[in-house]
């Protein structure tokens, strides 16, 4: 939906989108496992699992914002 990045590369660096996709889903899956386990047993490694889930989710957001940022611009004048 956003304006294209350039004629040659309309969506910019798509690898950032893939990193965002992978990290967001891995972070959510890890959180879904680690959070109930941490609430039930509270082992220290489960705490680190939560921290890793948080890191993955934040990484995903940063990647997606970096991918979108250059595409927030006015329309290119038509040739």
């Amino acid at each position: 939906m956003f304006p294209s990045h350039s004629r040659e590369c309309p969506r910019g660096d798509e690898r950032l989108g893939w990193v965002g996709y992978g990290a967001l889903n891995a972070g959510l899956a890890l959180r879904a496992i680690a959070e109930p386990l941490h609430a039930t047993y509270a082992f220290i490694w489960m705490g680190w699992g939560l921290a890793l889930a948080a890191l993955l989710q934040v990484l995903a957001i940063w990647a997606l914002v970096l991918a979108l940022w250059p595409r927030v611009k006015g329309a290119r004048p038509r040739a």
């Binding site: 948080a54 890191l55 914002v65 006015g74």
Partner: protein, 149 residues
């Protein structure tokens, strides 16, 4: 994309970054129990992600993409959109700062969330007032164009 929408989307992206980073820190704190004072930032996290990111992005895209009022591309009263931008972000800032400021100053500062609520209300009214005339069917738009000719 008009300038106001560019600015609103960029501000929304920044609030997404900041809000989700705070959320990530809170989740890590939940597991590691190292910095308990981080929980003071929880209202800031929810305000930035709900209002600063979601509502602001929705308003920005609506201002950009809804039908324009004439063939010259008139988007109506854009000052209302600027008012929405200023008051929405002011409201998020005040609501986000409330609990940390209360913790630092040891005063209730009850006027701060009230002012934030008032600013939110003004932002919503300004956005609706700007967008309402632009919710048109193609037939209505054709009639307006014919009247202009």
């Amino acid at each position: 994309m008009p300038r106001i929408s560019q600015l609103m989307i960029r501000t929304a992206l920044l609030q997404l970054l900041l809000g989700s980073t705070v959320g990530g820190l809170l989740l890590a704190e939940k597991g590691l129990h190292i910095l308990p004072w981080l929980w003071l930032l929880r209202p800031a996290h929810s305000q930035m992600l709900l209002l600063g990111w979601l509502v602001q992005l929705a308003c920005a895209v609506a201002i950009w993409i809804l039908p324009r009022l004439d063939s010259a591309g008139d988007r109506g009263n854009v000052r209302l959109a600027w008012l929405c931008y200023g008051t929405l972000n002011g409201a998020v800032l005040l609501a986000a700062l409330h609990i940390p400021l209360v913790a630092l100053s040891a005063r209730p500062l009850a006027w701060l969330p009230m002012l934030a609520g008032l600013l939110q209300f003004i932002a919503v009214i300004a956005a609706v007032a700007h967008l309402w005339p632009r919710v048109l069917s193609f037939r209505q738009k054709g009639v307006i164009r014919e009247q202009a000719v």
